[in-house]
Amino acid sequence: MFDFLEGYDLLGAFWVTVQLTFWSALGSLVWGTLLAAMRVGPVPLMRGFGTAYVTVVRNIPLTVIIVFTSLGLFQTLGISLGADRFTTINFRLAVLGLTAYTSAFVCEALRSGINTVPLGQVEAARAIGLSFPQILRIIVLPQAFRSVVGPLTNVLIALTKNTTVAAAIGVAEAALLMREMIENEAQLILISAIFAFGYICLTLPTGLLLGRLAKKVAVKR
């Protein structure tokens, strides 16, 4: 029944999906945190930039962003992100696009977390002489992160599924392989089911694990 799988590197494709997800998650966590810091910071220019970035990026379809990284950045501007093999270039461009896109959502999740930190925490930190960056880093962000593990999990799950868009620029992740198999094989429903199961295998444990983490790190007030 599963003979048609012969000759397809299913695990390899999902491994690319995992790698795409991992690097994009890391990138968007860092960039999203910086964006959130800009948006709550005292410098008007940075606040403006953060707000504009989130507003614009959130409203562009991910496909457009991913295609732009390939057509705009690579083919037009010649930006290859330090790689010279095509597959590596496309992989990195996809990570860049996914990071640019996902960080807007990380920023917003984090900002809602920042809003749950009582003002008194900040005032007490100011009163002992901490500077703004110190207050953000030591007092506000740690508490904000703890309160948004749930929302960030949703962002991460969405990101895992969004990596399918990287197929648009030829990254050999699971969705690209699925498309290929659907073209060549007859068992359409079975193929879809196998890939659906594969994604669930990635996202379900993530959700469960992070759900437990959320309870564990929650700040008691």
Binding site: G120, E123, A124, R126, A127, I128, G129, L130, I139, K220
Partner: protein, 281 residues
């Protein structure tokens, strides 16, 4: 909400030129604190508005080194705003505030450094919820005063011991009673070696049986010579620990005198009225 207009002459609008109308008479202005320490906190002509609400009206106040000043007054009279202005959690519209001779800087690192010299204890404790009691007390020492962790921990433990919560060092704030939390907050403020401590109604959020343990720590602090400004409704504390009582109403300092004078022989009608109300309870 109290009526923002006070009886008596109107204070000059800040910024409008014209003849200077004298403010209301401040009774007992000459009364000096015991000891002739030098001025540590000096406010000159401080004005503050919240929108159209005039919350501080040309406040002049000097707190000398080692002096304990209790600020009392009806709700909404500007006591909290005054406290918060002294370490610039609140900006002021005009006037000047000096700490140990230096004007309060407007922004940045300079301001952060000066804030460390002014300890503050809040009504709602505001302990850092995600850090242990010990970390709450070492944080400022390490990040602001640049002490190494070991030195900071030793000092933190001795301060926690001094306020009587040494046994709670490894707990989180939410695991402590209100009285314990407030004593930790006092230790946290003391840990960065402030020159002056501000208390904004430190016992108002506490259950009655916990008020005394906090007041006792404050009394001890006063006996040790700490310079303190205390906003409180605890008249017993004002009588026993204060060198001077500042009575505020409608954004002004209406009376400023010794506790004996203030409680025994209040001069202004506002103070008499206020005292008759609170001492009845």
């Amino acid at each position: 909400m109290p009526d923002p207009e006070t009886p008596g002459p109107k204070a000059p609008d800040p910024g409008t030129p014209g003849p200077k109308v004298p403010g209301p008479k401040v009774y007992g202005r000459q009364a000096s604190a015991p000891g002739d320490g030098d001025a540590l906190v000096v406010l000159r002509g401080v004005d503050k508005h919240f929108g159209t609400l005039h919350v501080l009206r040309s406040i002049d106040l000097t707190i000398r080194r080692g002096e304990v000043v209790v600020v009392i007054g009806p709700s909404g009279s500007g006591k909290s705003t005054l406290c918060r202005a002294i370490n610039r959690l609140e900006t002021i519209d005009s006037g000047e505030i000096r700490i140990d001779g230096r004007p309060l800087p407007a922004e940045g690192r300079e301001l952060a450094r000066l804030r460390a010299d002014v300890g503050m204890v809040f009504q709602s404790f505001n302990l850092f919820a995600h850090k242990t009691v010990l970390d709450n007390v070492t944080l400022g020492q390490i990040k602001v005063r640049k002490k190494d962790r070991k030195t900071a921990e030793e000092r933190a433990r001795s301060l926690l011991d001094r306020v009587g919560v040494a046994a709670q060092a490894d707990k989180y704030p939410a695991q402590l009673s209100g009285g314990q939390q407030q004593r930790v907050a006092i230790a946290r403020a003391l840990a960065v070696d402030p020159k002056v401590m501000l208390f904004d109604e430190p016992t108002s959020a506490l259950d009655p049986e916990m008020i005394n343990e906090v007041l006792e720590v404050m009394r001890q602090l006063a006996r040790d010579g700490m310079t303190m400004a205390v906003v409180t409704h605890e008249m017993g504390f004002a009588r026993s620990a204060a060198h001077r009582v500042v009575f505020m109403a409608d954004g002004r300092i209406v009376e400023e005198t010794t506790p004996e004078e203030f409680f025994g022989n209040p001069r202004s009608a506002r103070a008499r009225d206020f005292l008759s109300k609170i001492l009845h309870h």
